[in-house]
């Protein structure tokens, strides 16, 4: 692990891979270090934001000496997200990938995903583990509003829109599961390192 400074109050830890980033994140959540305000996993990094007056040299030392758990909770049962596969872009994704509609759905639900990191909007998890055959680019022009619960893919990722927002991902279906609820603690159903599966529901 390499630790670099991100200004005078944060450190960016470069991990060998996503799994290591998740193990570091898990270690810092199980036993928070004093003076640390935020721990933010990325694709291969963990940003550690400290209080303004923190001694970053000392914090960097402690980070490199941390004992990481063998596994970042990946052994827990995956979160199951029920999906009705009636998305507006199913035909388009079938065309782009050369697969049938049914095969797109089969491949999407067959995979087990990992929440790599969150971003874009509160509760929006970037899920890795998408079948490479389903890799499609974002729409050339994003929709001005994608409904909450939309199940979508773009590039290497799958996601579920936790709230209505503009968006350019390809929509495969929708889920009624609430991914984001400010009255819940934590408000986000998905957290970095969690595993996720999509379970088809019969269309009404």
């Amino acid at each position: 692990m390499k630790v670099v400074r991100a200004g005078d109050a944060a450190l960016l830890v470069e991990a060998a891979d996503l799994a290591t980033a998740h193990r570091l994140n898990a270690a810092l959540r199980d036993e928070p270090l004093p003076g640390v305000v935020d721990v933010v996993p990325g694709e291969r990094t963990v940003l550690v934001v400290a209080e303004p007056a923190a001694d970053l040299g000392r914090l960097a030392e402690r980070l490199t000496r941390l004992r990481l758990p063998d596994d970042a909770g990946g052994d827990a049962e995956p979160v199951e997200i029920p999906v009705t596969y009636d998305g507006a872009d199913l035909d388009e994704v079938a065309d782009l990938t050369g697969l049938s509609r049914g095969e797109v759905v089969r491949r999407h639900r067959a995979a087990t995903y990992t929440v790599a990191y969150l971003g874009f909007s509160p509760g929006f998890g970037y899920l890795t583990g998408l079948d490479p055959a389903l890799r499609v680019a974002r729409r050339a022009s994003p929709r001005t509003s994608v409904p909450a619960g939309s199940v979508a893919i773009a590039d290497r990722y799958a996601a579920v829109y936790p709230s209505a927002s503009p968006g350019g991902w390809r929509l495969l279906g929708r889920s009624e599961l609430r991914l984001w609820d400010v009255t819940r603690d934590p408000p986000s159903l998905l957290r970095p390192g969690m595993r996720v599966r999509f379970v088809p529901r019969e269309s009404p």
Partner: protein, 282 residues
């Protein structure tokens, strides 16, 4: 209770935001100029994190339906209480029913109006901050909004008559620390960043200060994986023109951060006006 007669160009309720939830995609938000915000609260005897009103280029008018003590800090917007001029950076008494009006500040961008007792609109995730990126918290103020004021019992006494107003230079120099992704840029890019004048774009907002000037040239192609972003980061999108991230910045981003402002310079960046020029210094 305070009634919003007119909010000016943009007025929001802010406190110290929602730190600690960035891994869930929740921006920190909170007062863009935290230094001025805390001072306003101290001047009226509030805890430093009590919610206050953040004005953008002044212009607001507020009717107080109960007497109160207030203090205005940050951009020195001309302040009138029932038509008579009052100084900023000083506690001022507002009689019951009085109209508090703000002109356009001659320098700076954001002014803070703290009220003794704090503004006690509903909290979302432990904060009353209006986050313009994620939509969390109360909406920006609009005419007719009513802002409840909290109890003043048990607060510290008001002990200061006036505080020095911060100097807001015409062409500020913001201190930066290179990295974490300065190695994605050419040596010339770093020299450009620290030697030329940049100009604040009108597209700037609470998410970030967008800059116009010479683009920074990358030393390598390819895509950086998304990573956590700090307030004060100078993120460089494909245009090569850096964006200084302010309070409502996204929690993660995929464009390289060439440098990060010194913590003490974030308040200065939050006071930059569209069209103003600035320099960066290591």
């Amino acid at each position: 209770m305070i009634e919003v007669v007119r909010p000016g160009p943009l007025a929001t309720v802010q406190d110290l935001g929602r730190p600690g939830r960035a891994h869930l995609g929740v921006p920190c938000s909170g007062a863009a100029d935290g230094r001025a915000f805390r001072l306003a609260n101290r001047l009226v005897g509030n805890p430093e994190g009590a919610a206050a009103v953040e004005l953008t280029l002044g212009g607001a008018a507020l009717r107080f339906h109960r007497h109160a003590w207030i203090a205005v800090t940050g951009a020195p917007a001309p302040l009138r209480i029932n038509g008579s001029a009052q100084g900023t950076h000083a506690p001022a008494h507002v009689p019951d029913g009085a109209l508090v009006e703000f002109g356009t500040p001659p320098s700076g961008l954001r002014s803070y109006l703290a009220v003794r007792g704090g503004v006690v609109v509903e909290e979302v995730l432990g904060s009353r901050s209006c986050d313009l990126l994620s939509g969390l918290g109360p909406a920006p103020l609009s005419p007719g909004d009513r802002l409840p004021v909290g109890p003043t019992k048990g607060l510290d006494d008001i002990t200061v008559d006036v505080a020095p107003a911060p100097h807001m230079p015409e062409t500020p120099v913001l201190h930066i620390r290179p990295g974490p992704r300065d190695d994605w840029f050419t040596d010339e890019a770093m020299a450009t960043l620290t030697s030329t004048l940049y100009e604040v774009s009108p597209e700037s907002n609470r998410v970030g200060v967008r800059l116009e000037g010479p683009p920074l040239v990358r030393a390598r192609d390819g895509e950086l994986g998304s990573e956590g972003m700090v307030t004060g980061a100078l993120q460089v999108p494909p245009s090569g023109l850096p964006i200084i991230f302010l309070a409502d910045h996204p929690t993660t981003g995929g464009y390289p951060v060439v440098a990060v402002l010194a913590s003490s310079a974030i308040a200065d960046a939050a006071q930059l006006r569209p069209g103003q020029r600035l320099r960066f210094r290591v």
